[in-house]
Assembly symmetry: C2
Homo-oligomer: 389 residues x 2
Amino acid sequence: MVRQVPIAGVGMTPFGKSPERTARELFGDAASEAIADAGIEPAAVEEVFYGNFMGEFAEGQGHQGPMAAEAAGVTAPATRFDSACASSGAAVRFGARAVARGDADVALVGGAERMTNLSTADGTSALAAAADALWEVRAGVTFPGAYSLMANRYFHEYGGGREELAHVAVKNHENAVENELAQFQRSIEVEDVLEAPTVCSPFGLYDCSPMSDGASAAVLVSEEYAEEHGLETPVAITGTGQGSDGLALHDRASMVETPAARRAGERAFADAGIEPADVDVAEVHDCFTIAEVLALESLGFYEPGEGLAAAREGETTADGELPVNLSGGLKAKGHPVGATGCAQISEMTKLLRGDHVNSDAVADAEVGVTHNAGGTVASCVVTVLEVMG
Amino acid sequence: MVRQVPIAGVGMTPFGKSPERTARELFGDAASEAIADAGIEPAAVEEVFYGNFMGEFAEGQGHQGPMAAEAAGVTAPATRFDSACASSGAAVRFGARAVARGDADVALVGGAERMTNLSTADGTSALAAAADALWEVRAGVTFPGAYSLMANRYFHEYGGGREELAHVAVKNHENAVENELAQFQRSIEVEDVLEAPTVCSPFGLYDCSPMSDGASAAVLVSEEYAEEHGLETPVAITGTGQGSDGLALHDRASMVETPAARRAGERAFADAGIEPADVDVAEVHDCFTIAEVLALESLGFYEPGEGLAAAREGETTADGELPVNLSGGLKAKGHPVGATGCAQISEMTKLLRGDHVNSDAVADAEVGVTHNAGGTVASCVVTVLEVMG
């Protein structure tokens, strides 16, 4: 980036089922926590960048930017970003850009999603609006189906099967056991994954992230503002990248590659001036177990076809070479879609500054990366966070 | 702005009823026209900023950023902005910012909306998602109702009535007569407005903008890029401003003021280094006749309570002191909501560079302003365009 963007504060509601709470209530909680964590007043916020995906379906509420600002107690200009499940990743990116470029000294970024007030069928249908409505959804494709196509093709091209994938879910559940914000604070075994009811072959229940309600927020400030106001900002955003691809999976040259993520990663790493090998810890978008595998490959941590072994071999566990999804990931932390991207930022910030329950696993970490995807990775935002020197 | 942002090309579909055409088809047309008008190749586009409001309801399609990029034939990072009826105004603002700040040399901005494939009732219901779903829509408020409250309160505070408002509609219809892109290319009389069926008192049919399908686009480039590639860019964006307010009308201190527009205008004028008195021509968000009145007051062209006289006295007609909505405005040009903000940019660019059918009315104009509002002006984006010296 032109300049690094210090993270002054982060906040996140517990993820899980709270169907009676509105998105505005959820975001109000997360934003208030982030603002308090930053040690600023709401009035100091100069612009709001907010992600939400399915508010039209869940609450009949579009136009959620002003709603989010109001919930946070600020009157600054506010915009809603929709990049499907990468919505608050996009919000973070635009907020970081605004601060890096001097358009704002204090930005409130985040997102919220209310999902569990819908039935699972209605929720699945709402989520499908992130796929190609014309060419995929009309043919009956929803996201478990789309990602299962990718998983089956992966097995076809590189070998492996359900058991290898299961290790991704087992690892992420294990990471969530002590995380009080996570939806599922319990460990599971490979057999649990293999014996779970089938959702869409090869996926069983534990291969899929859940429906969740929740919100996330962060306060980004300029270095000048942080210094002038004596804010503690041990972690900063040092690079961002975004990539896009066609909405429909069938238009992709390969069903086991996600070029939008590759491009987002390359841009983010170049922006931060780092290489994949410099990364100490990552939060990636494991909406389905196969998605974590593809994410690790697209970011250059593994060669194509080699990512499946990562979890099985223990390379990405808490004490592995590259801990991935120490928060529990979307699988176990939960996946309120519009909140997920900034929740990765919130969790990574805590991991790097030392106040996350799993911080001990990455005590010496200096560089963290988040990977937030929308649809079948038709959108992707990658963010680099670093401990400030 | 830090730097002015040349407008290299603009494009716009005809606005009107084309219920069989998808938003992606519409945007593909507008984007292709803008790209051809700019004299660039699609591959030169470095980022896409796209506005859409009700795609979830009209087509079951969210996540429209990648879809828009694909329709335009580009693979650049693409983001969908939802600021209700100010969605593509927001897209233009973020695109202009990115170019002004050096994040991109070539940005494709625009928006699209498909509306008339829905019934009027379903369309009205979809639009209501821009209001406060919890506190307004549940109580039965839709937008004709919300704006009628503002109009009645205006009459109560300042006097005047339906006949004064009618002049706004008459003027905007008159401006659209020769505009081949406009939905209603015919003039009306004050009696037509007064005798039209009531939609919601004091509004008759002609006080309300129509349901429309359509798309708009513009190519924004850096000055360096324009020079290097020999592009003709007679008009540039020189300032932008955005403002937000609470979603619900009942929370506003006054129902006849739109502070989000006032703040957006002040910021845009300061950004461009101009005063309201410097403005030669304006396109404002006349979703209802009263909305044009409030827009002119909030931008500082008229004192509170004095805007209603503007149209009646002929001050804002094509040969008035400050021509307003020479395109026909939302009333007569049409209002495919997600396309409207960038359509204002497209029309204003043509007005200022001399190739709009109504350019003769503003042959000496150097400064144009667009005002694009969302909801009951809970969102507003104001953009300043100037003839490049």
